[in-house]
């Protein structure tokens, strides 16, 4: 279970440009939930992910995972239980290292990075199998540098790498936004497959309303640092794109757009 309690986050505090992003924002995500988060730019979606991962500090409130307070835990330590895929496909892989080396890196997450061989030869078949699961033919290109792969291929690898070791949470930060519609569909299906197979608690920020409606079992719409829609279970299943779009228009008019 992930709990955000009374989160406060202000930018440029104490200046005329002070901007309040979150003021007393609370959210609880149960184990096994797949939460889709939508909302306009600047509504606090990505900031929420950054706060959960520890990429940006908090001004008020606390974060708990499984009842344990992680508010002060540095980002890299939190990542042991979190897998994250970024919008930019380049963020999840090492371009100058080969596919095999990237897989080995991801496989060693949580283990000590000592002077043992970086690639465990006995794991190669396992890596092949995992890559085969992507269906992109990467399993035959183990010695190819990741830098020459396409964005979609790299994002698929990033997804695979971030979920290879046992993690509790999967954080998807607009991970299909930089891909063409066809590739985005493929990556989204893969995501769903991975999440189901590994029973991951998932938070997915997306601008793609169709993905938000079709996938996951809970839907949040963020607006000015608050969740103005929060539906789960059967209620979520009934939501139509049109109703979200209407809500979107409504808040846009409020903001004068």
């Amino acid at each position: 279970m992930l709990e955000l309690n009374h989160i406060g986050k202000y930018y440029n505090a104490g200046t005329v440009n002070e901007m309040c992003l979150f003021d007393d924002f609370s959210l609880t995500i149960q184990d096994g939930e797949f939460v889709s988060v939508v909302g306009s730019n600047g509504s606090g979606k990505t900031s929420m992910l950054n706060i959960i991962c520890g990429s940006i500090p908090l001004d008020a409130g606390s974060i708990k995972i499984g009842g344990k307070d992680i508010t002060r835990m540095p980002e890299y330590q939190r990542q042991r239980r979190i897998g994250r895929v970024y919008q930019n496909p380049a963020m999840g892989t090492c371009p100058s290292m080969t596919i095999l080396e990237n897989m080995a890196l991801a496989d060693n997450k949580g283990k000590p990075f000592n002077l043992l061989p970086g690639t465990n030869r006995q794991r190669i078949d396992f890596y092949r199998e995992q890559l085969h699961f992507l269906g992109l033919g990467l399993e035959d290109k183990l010695e190819v540098k990741v830098g020459v792969l396409s964005g979609g291929q790299r994002q698929a690898m990033a997804l695979l790498m971030s979920t290879m070791t046992p993690i509790e949470f999967l954080i998807l930060d607009e991970h299909t936004a930089a891909l063409d519609p066809k590739t985005a569909d493929i990556i989204m299906e893969l995501t769903d497959k991975v999440v189901r197979e590994k029973h991951l608690t998932t938070i997915m920020v997306t601008h793609n309303l169709r993905f938000a409606v079709e996938y996951g079992n809970r839907l949040l719409m963020m607006h000015q640092g608050n969740a103005i829609i929060d539906k789960c279970g059967a209620e979520k299943a009934e939501i139509k794109i049109e109703s979200i779009l209407d809500k979107f228009n409504e808040i846009s008019i409020e903001c004068g757009n």
């Binding site: 890299y76 970024y86 380049a90 963020m91 100058s96 290292m97 890196l105 997450k109 000592n114 971030s162």
Partner: protein, 294 residues
């Protein structure tokens, strides 16, 4: 022949240091100026240890460790105190000038007539006289090859993977639940260890420590790395470490050529910087785009 051997000798010594610069510049993308201080530091430590009668081979290890410690300081200043990379190096380099004087006691320490890795009883007894002119080159070659192999092996370990990853994409290192700052510190430690080791070998070969011997080390190291990697780019199979060693020898040959063509020894630094500039401009033209920093 003497000129060729001279080029090889100096080229190989600087190749050790260039392996370190390769780590910071090419892998970590960190312009590390502290090598200007760790190179003479290695020499100062070596001169003192040899005068105290320490085995010359042992000084190689101790000099490396000394340099590594200084590299950790640079890394600590950059990572934990959040000082810019270039400034961290300058701070450590400046401090090391005084520290090196403290270590050596004075600005010039000769160690002629002492046993070194190049001149000792074992060598006199075991090496035939005909080989005498080549002994230094052969020993240097052995040291450089050992350094290269160790570095190549390290790069294939888990820790080495992480080092390569941090220069490539440090977000991924965080995603792997590792502190990217620590990885950078390790990289800087290894790099400065190599610089100090080069200083140690230089001191033993020339027979003295001199406080200003480190000036321009980084520029030479960068030139070696860039020449090597550009020159051997076409041969994809050549390892970067090999390229760096070849680059060091080629660079030294260019400098010797300039001197042979009538430039004086006092023009050395001028030759160094003009040559370096030439390499940068040339490699920018090859890339078809300018790099925003060097």
């Amino acid at each position: 022949m003497t000129i060729v051997l001279g080029v090889l000798e100096e080229g190989l010594i600087y190749a050790i240091m260039a392996l370190g610069v390769y780590i910071t510049y090419k892998i970590l993308d960190f312009p590390d100026l502290s090598v200007d201080g760790t190179f003479p530091m290695g020499a100062a430590v070596t001169a003192m240890l040899i005068l105290k009668g320490v085995d010359p081979v042992v000084t190689l290890v101790l000099a490396f460790l000394g340099g590594a410690a200084a590299g950790c300081v640079t890394g600590f200043i950059h990572v934990k105190m959040k000082v810019r990379d270039l400034l961290s190096g300058i701070i450590v380099m400046t401090a090391l000038y005084s520290i090196n004087l403290r270590i050596a006691g004075k600005s010039n320490v000769p160690i002629f007539s002492k046993e070194t890795i190049f001149e000792n009883e074992w060598l006199t007894n075991h090496v035939p006289e005909a080989l005498d002119p080549y002994v230094v080159t052969i020993i240097l070659l052995i040291i450089v090859v050992i350094c290269k192999i160790l570095l190549d092996l390290y790069m294939q370990t888990r820790s080495g993977y992480l080092l390569r990853a941090v220069g490539d994409n440090d977000t991924l290192v965080t995603s792997l639940a590792k502190d990217k700052g620590m990885v950078k510190i390790i990289g800087l430690a290894i790099a400065n260890g190599f610089a100090a080791l080069a200083g140690c070998v230089y001191c033993q070969q020339k027979g003295f420590f001199e406080i200003s011997m480190g000036t321009g080390t980084m520029v030479i190291g960068l030139a070696n790395v860039i020449i090597g990697t550009k020159l051997l780019k076409k041969f994809g199979a050549v390892k970067a470490t090999t390229a760096v060693i070849v680059g060091s020898i080629v660079y030294k040959a260019c400098v010797s050529l300039a001197i042979a063509l009538g430039m004086g020894a006092s023009d050395l630094k001028l030759i160094t910087s003009v040559l370096f500039l030439g390499i940068l401009v040339f490699s920018n033209m090859q890339d078809g785009r300018g790099k925003t920093h060097a």
